[in-house]
């Protein structure tokens, strides 16, 4: 299941980043949540975004998604400077987000959920066959074999299967960057394994993936590089193979580990400002 991981992760990300953030800042009132955050994501790579509660992971993602646009900072999409002011704009660029609560309708089937709000129509009526075919193709492209029928209601699916549907919905629209918010948080061991291998396949299919997680096992199992947020600052974005489990934990909890990470005085200065 993890065979792709070891063969895939070349040491330094090459080529142009799909999404590049430079000096992102965001404040909510007096609280300065993000300070000069830089982040790069590459096609075919999984970037793990880690950090403690309140480190600014969600704020960063919501900025990218256009839900809470950044105050200042530059965003580059495939090398072009872009501004994202709303979720629709983000979708139009090719950014899809799978939220932690998945946002699925239990009373609708798999196909209906995947096309919710963006149904394929022939005249006034829904083109069910086209949608079902495309949904099937997408799931097959992700090597999903755990669904019994595409016409199953989502309420009858397990947690892992729901996550699969939500992820498949995100890649249905020729997206280039998929952001996953804690996809394994509520899952058992076997289902976590399924979802992680799916995340890996997304990257192997050429997508850029940002994986938000608290789980170090997930990070080292699928991530190519790790971006670590510490109190609203990017402590470091490092290659997953060059750091150890312990170093990442230090980056999360202290903002630095040895010579990687924030300088002590910078880190300390921010602790005072943290609410």
């Amino acid at each position: 299941m993890t065979d792709g991981v070891t063969s895939q992760g070349s040491a330094t990300p090459q080529g142009q980043p799909v999404l590049s953030l430079r000096g992102m800042n965001k404040s909510f009132g007096a609280v300065h949540v993000l300070r000069d955050v830089d982040l790069d994501t590459y096609a075919g790579k999984v970037t793990a975004l880690v950090g403690d509660n309140g480190a600014g992971k969600s704020t960063l993602i919501k900025g990218v998604a256009g839900i809470h646009p950044f105050d200042h900072g530059e965003m580059f999409w495939e090398g072009e400077k872009v501004e994202v002011h709303g979720p629709r704009q983000a979708n139009a660029l090719g950014i899809e987000i799978v939220y932690q609560d998945l946002a699925l309708c239990d009373n609708l089937d798999v196909v209906h959920n995947m096309f919710l709000g963006r149904e394929v129509k022939g005249g006034v009526t829904l083109n069910e066959t086209a949608m079902e075919k495309r949904a099937g193709d997408t799931l097959r492209g992700l090597s999903v074999r755990t669904l019994r029928s595409l016409r199953q209601q989502v309420s009858s699916l397990s947690g892992g299967q729901r996550q699969t549907v939500a992820i498949a919905r995100a890649v249905l629209w020729n997206s280039k960057l998929v952001i996953l918010d804690e996809p394994t948080a509520a899952l058992g061991v076997a289902q976590t394994e399924q979802v992680l291998s799916l995340v890996r396949r997304l990257a192997d299919n050429g997508l850029a993936v940002i994986l938000i997680t608290h789980n170090m096992n997930d990070v080292f199992q699928v991530a190519d590089n790790i971006a670590c947020l510490y109190l609203g600052q990017l402590a470091a974005q490092v290659d997953a193979k060059e750091v150890s489990h312990g170093q990442v934990v230090e980056l999360i909890t202290a903002g630095r580990s040895g010579d990687i990470g924030l300088q002590p005085e910078v880190a300390a200065a921010n602790v005072g400002g943290e609410a």
Partner: protein, 420 residues
């Protein structure tokens, strides 16, 4: 839930192989056991009630005249219930629908009888009133965020008052317009009735067959032809028996004029069922109604305009209530301040719920209003034959409503437990 060892069968080949009648029956039984009962309780209910009333009061209850009577009694409740299905699908309620029906009848009667408007204009005025009522409710519920229970309770009182003012305390307004009266009081010619039956059966067969064929062409799993044939045959039997019975002479042998044929209200209700089912099942709008009822937040994030969907549903509900009011007025030949009052609304909500529409939102079909409406109509028709005591009748109606709501709640719990 099966997490370990993914099943060998891929989603795209399943169903194609096991497409026999036996497999379809097993699949259906699994669904029922899993809490997805659909219209099964309603169908069992109708059959059981017909048997019970047939044994107790066979001579009157099972007479041909009573069958036509039953349809006339049920029609308005069915139409009212169809409108309520749209609101119930959202997880909301419209308590004012009964008096919206009364209001529609009142507008129709005053414009027809007191102002001598032609009937199409009077009907249009009544329907527009429904649109306005629905829109007003929707603004308060969807934009302002007041619970629909409270808003529609206020409208329940307000519309009752408005009706009293229009009609005058204790007064009744007769309706003499032939077109309006004939909906409930006239019947289709016998030959036209048979043609109607063939159109219904043929239409259903063709529509379902086309769907199977287009799925086949795309290589998607489909229902087996044997299952399709069985469904068409079942519908054909029910429709042909009903049309045969309605085409019999209903008059006593001594009477001079003949009464036979399908009441004109039947094609009207059929057209509404087909049209509204199409909207709900085949259009993006219908799909979005289910989405809002299932998970409003997910619908919002998917870019669906939730307040707009809610508005459309409340407008549809009130407008259909007006249609129901017109049917009541046509049947009663007059309108009084109690038209659409009393148990009208409860019967309609009961019909929708007995038919299989959930009070919790997200589950239901237009068709439910018909099957549930049939149960309610059979009770309303048969019970007075068995007992004259209105006390007993109230209690039985209350019990039936509770049983229906319990079936809904229990099937929901089962559905949660079995993960359906």
């Amino acid at each position: 839930m099966s997490t370990a060892a993914p099943p060998a069968s891929q989603f795209d080949i399943q169903e194609e192989t096991g497409g026999s009648i036996g497999a379809a029956a097993r699949e259906y039984w699994t669904r029922v056991k899993g809490g997805d009962m659909g219209s099964l309780p309603a169908i069992i209910g109708v059959v059981a009630l017909v048997v019970i009333f047939g044994i107790m009061e066979g001579d009157t209850f099972l007479s041909k005249g009573n069958f036509a009577n039953l349809i006339n009694q049920g029609a308005a409740i069915m139409v009212l219930a169809m409108g309520l299905v749209f609101v119930l699908l959202l997880g909301e309620i419209d308590l004012s629908a009964g008096f919206a029906a009364g209001m529609g009848a009142a507008i129709l009667a005053t414009t027809l009888t007191e102002r001598d408007w032609p009937w199409p204009l009077a009907l249009l005025a009544a329907l527009l009133t429904g649109v306005v009522i629905g829109f007003a409710i929707a603004v308060l519920v969807a934009r302002l965020g007041i619970p629909s229970f409270v808003v529609t309770l206020a409208f329940f009182l307000g519309l009752q008052g408005a009706m009293l003012l229009i009609i005058g305390e204790g007064g009744t307004i007769p309706i003499r317009d032939d077109a309006i009266l004939s909906v409930m009081n006239k019947n289709m010619p016998v030959a036209l009735g048979w043609l109607f039956a063939l159109i219904v059966i043929g239409g259903f067969a063709a529509a379902t067959y086309m769907r199977i064929r287009s799925r086949r062409k795309e290589g998607l799993p489909t229902e087996a032809m044997s299952v399709w044939g069985l469904k068409v045959a079942a519908l054909a039997v029910v429709v042909l028996i009903a049309v045969y019975l309605l085409n019999q002479e209903r008059q006593r042998e001594t009477a001079v004029i003949t009464i036979q044929g399908i009441p004109w209200v039947v094609p009207l209700v059929t057209a509404l069922v087909v049209g509204l089912s199409f909207v709900l099942a085949r259009t993006a709008f219908g799909r979005h109604i289910y989405a809002v009822g299932g998970n409003a937040e997910a619908a919002r994030r998917a870019g669906i305009n939730v307040p707009n969907i809610k508005t459309a549903c409340f407008v549809l509900c009130s407008t259909l209530a007006i249609v129901a009011g017109v049917l009541i007025a046509s049947r009663d030949n007059s309108v009084s301040p109690t038209t659409g009052g009393a148990q009208t609304l409860l019967y309609a909500v009961g019909a929708a719920v007995i038919g299989g529409t959930s009070l919790f939102g997200g589950r239901g079909r237009v068709y439910d209003a018909v099957t549930g409406g049939l149960v309610v109509a059979v009770i309303a028709n048969g019970l007075p034959l068995v007992t004259q005591q209105s006390g007993t009748q109230f209690i039985v109606n209350g019990v039936v409503l509770l049983v229906a709501a319990s079936v809904d709640a229990i099937s929901r719990r089962r559905a949660a437990a079995t993960g359906r």
